[in-house]
């Protein structure tokens, strides 16, 4: 059994890393343990004991918190001021069958973002500053607490999504936004391959959606959500804002649908519930990495392939971000994954970047250690 190291200060974290570097041992960084850590030989280093909001002034629209702060704790504090994290960080405990709480550090390090991502940006786009411990055990600060900043190199762009390959995040500062007055979701009976075109047309005509996903019939059935039509694939499109404006966007969107594309509207509470389920992959509960594959940026042809796979009844499909990512579970899911290595020069650049933070490769880091692909197993 490998030990879990839980430093309570960033100085203590620095000492742990320096000692690992001195003894030639490796560490795998984890957050709250809400996602299954990949198997490895390293001890685990977690930011879970570094908790608490360090600065929050609602009118600044920026919040700073230690990396081990549970997302739910921060969300609660933001909600008291009618604010939220715009990128909708997911909670995948049901999917992975885990119990640890998602933390801010984990969300930023993995750049985990929910269905609002294509409309407002991902976790990375909302990161304005951070503190971290690099592979030398040095405590580094990057960015700041302002909404705009171009002083020096933006190390946050590298750290967000680096999955623990560059260092342990100890504190993050994130942009927040006001919670809109209301939301409404349209459930439309269309296939997933039709979603990208529908959303592109809507965007071009100024219709402002805030989420767009498509669930196959099997996913709809497993989701057990009230209000969703059963026995057919369903596209979900969300609108948020002040009530009269939302009503107008919904009306205009309906006008773009053909006569056979029936749309059912879900109001505030039902809408909120359905997107929580989509965000957290509830319909894939317990399937975890066993037989599920996430396809990032599938091409149109791949969306048609997913549509066919969903039609055979053996596979479960959820297409998100207007078609920019998809999950498929079932016996043939893994055959859809295409493994490609990065071109040699790009891989050399990635390795150099890792060396610049962690020259001794103290941090063992899953996908960065393997020739992983754009089709990423989860």
């Amino acid at each position: 059994m490998k030990s879990i190291l839980l430093p309570e200060t960033e100085q203590a974290a620095g000492e742990i890393v320096r000692e690992a570097a001195a003894t030639g041992t490796t560490l795998r960084i984890i957050g709250g343990g809400s996602e299954l850590p990949l198997q490895g030989a390293s001890d685990l280093l977690s930011s879970r004991a570094l908790t608490g909001i360090t600065h929050y002034e609602p009118a600044d629209f920026v919040v700073s918190a230690r990396a081990g702060t549970p997302v739910s704790e921060l969300a609660g504090e933001l909600a008291r001021h009618r604010q939220r994290l715009p990128f909708e960080p997911p909670d995948r405990r049901l999917f992975f069958g885990t119990r640890g709480k998602p933390t801010l550090g984990g969300v930023v390090a993995s750049n985990r973002s929910g269905p609002r991502r294509p409309f407002v940006g991902d976790a990375r786009a909302h990161l304005v500053g951070l503190r971290m411990v690099n592979g030398r055990g040095e405590v580094i600060r990057a960015g700041g607490h302002t909404l705009k900043n171009v002083a020096g190199l933006d190390l946050g762009r590298l750290l967000a999504g680096s999955c623990g390959s560059l260092g342990l995040l100890t504190e993050v500062s994130l942009r927040v936004e006001a919670v809109p007055e209301t939301e409404c979701t349209l459930a439309i009976g269309i296939e997933c391959a039709d979603l990208p075109l529908l959303m592109a047309r809507a965007r071009a005509s100024g219709i402002r959606a805030s989420a767009a996903s498509c669930l196959c019939a099997a996913t709809v059935a497993r989701a057990e959500l009230a209000g969703l039509p059963q026995g057919q694939p369903v596209a979900l499109v969300r609108f948020e804002g002040r009530a009269p404006a939302v009503a107008e966007h919904v009306r205009r969107f309906r006008d773009q649908l053909t006569a056979i594309q029936d749309a059912h509207a879900m109001d505030d509470r039902a809408s909120s519930r359905v997107w929580e389920a989509v965000r957290d992959l509830e319909a894939f509960a317990g399937r975890g990495a066993r037989d599920t594959v996430r396809l990032a940026f599938p091409h149109d042809a791949e969306l048609h392939m997913l549509q066919q796979a969903a039609a055979d009844g053996e596979h479960q499909v959820q297409v998100d971000w207007c078609g920019r990512q998809a999950w498929i579970a079932g016996p043939s899911a893994r055959s859809l994954a295409r493994f490609e290595s990065a071109p040699a020069r790009l891989q050399a650049l990635i390795d150099s970047i890792r060396d610049s933070f962690d020259p001794q490769r103290v941090f063992e880091a899953g996908m960065f250690d393997r020739a992983e692909t754009r089709q990423e197993a989860m």
Partner: protein, 488 residues
Amino acid sequence: MARGRDSIGRFSGQPLASGPIVIRTLFRPRSSARPPLLRELKSVLPEGGLIAPSRRVTTYERDGLPCAGGEPLAIALPATTEQVSQIVAIARAAGVRVMPRGAGTSRCGAAIPLEHSLVISTARMKSVVAFDAQGGRIRVQPGVTNRAISEHVRAAGWFYAPDPSSRRTCTIGGNIATNSSGACALRHGVTADHLLGATAVLHDGAIVELGEHARRQSGYDLSGFLCGSEGQLALVAEATLRLEPVAEHSETVIAGFAARADALAAASAVLRAGVLPYRLEFMDWRAVAFTEALVASGYPRDAQGVLLVELQGLHADVAEDARLLSELLHGAGATSLACSPTDAELDPWAGREAIYRAVSGVGGFEALDCCVPRTQLDAALAQVEAIAAQHGMDHATVAHAGDGTLHTFVLYKTADHASADRARACADRIRSACVALDGTVSAEYGIGLGRRELLTLQFSALDLLQQRRAREAFAPGDWLNPGKVFPQ
């Protein structure tokens, strides 16, 4: 604005004002090595694609910082990605450092070359490679101007959102280098939020595809990391950008306030109520006076602070937000309120957009682009007043009230070096004061040559060392745009 020849300090002489700028020659190639190198460069470039040092090339030695650089070895004007790759490789083999250059509109000396470096200008890389009118994205070469992108796509119902004040002339390559943005960053974000993919040329000439240009996403956001790197990591040879739909309707509200603090509190009230304007701008009474003297825009001249709020969206969005906005501004103590539709006789944005012209009509100026946490904006502007008074300087301020960026113009008499020195000292004290308020020395212009020593106010030596290490991972030996950003 002092941009006249008499105000320009020459390289190896003194810059305009005594200050921290030191331009050093990092490399001087053997004179015997020059002709073969120039011949080799010429062989891969199109006709007229190399400007040799025998001709005056002053244009390429300057940018918006009143300070001239060293005489470059040559100016290369490639037209394709492959040509960029070839000339960078040739320069690397010859031991000549490379300085990418867009339109040279930088205000901080980011586009000033060191002596004997090879300037690679994007002046001939002005093509639109592909435009996806349905998906709202465009792939361009780096020499396309910011404004030209919007003009190219407008008929199809799109525009390119990041809006630096130099957008008529600045290039997209330069925008990426400085992560450019302007007033509409509040609603639409900065350049990094719009850069979907890039084709980059590394220090040795290798071409790498990043972001959506790559078949495989690397995990690190390398195209995003190029944003704001001031050309020190790689040269961008092509970029794919996200476009925004042109709004169906737009409306601007001009609100006057008896006190600066009231105006800024009103801006906070608007945002906290969930109204997200396209632009939310603050102008102090001096900025109002300067701009109204140049172009009448209907700003209340008796107000201490003015807010300009532009709403965009469907008619329903704008109508609903305008109703709430009016209530909020009245509630926050607005002494005057005027609503101006897009087709109004007086353009409500004409004055705000003419601020640089307006202050340059008064004399020279030091322009600041500090950013502070939004709630510190009033404290920052109080510091501006106090510091300017101590230095005996006139000044004017406009601010992006939505994100806390303040553009203070510290004014001085053109060709009066003592006055210019005082303006620079005053500006640097304001920058320090903003950092002390948990802010940043630069939110838009970048660091370049002119502000590199100020970076130590914001970051520890260790923080900067880690940034340098990351830069070295891309371009070992300060090879690209040398001498910039980091304190020497």
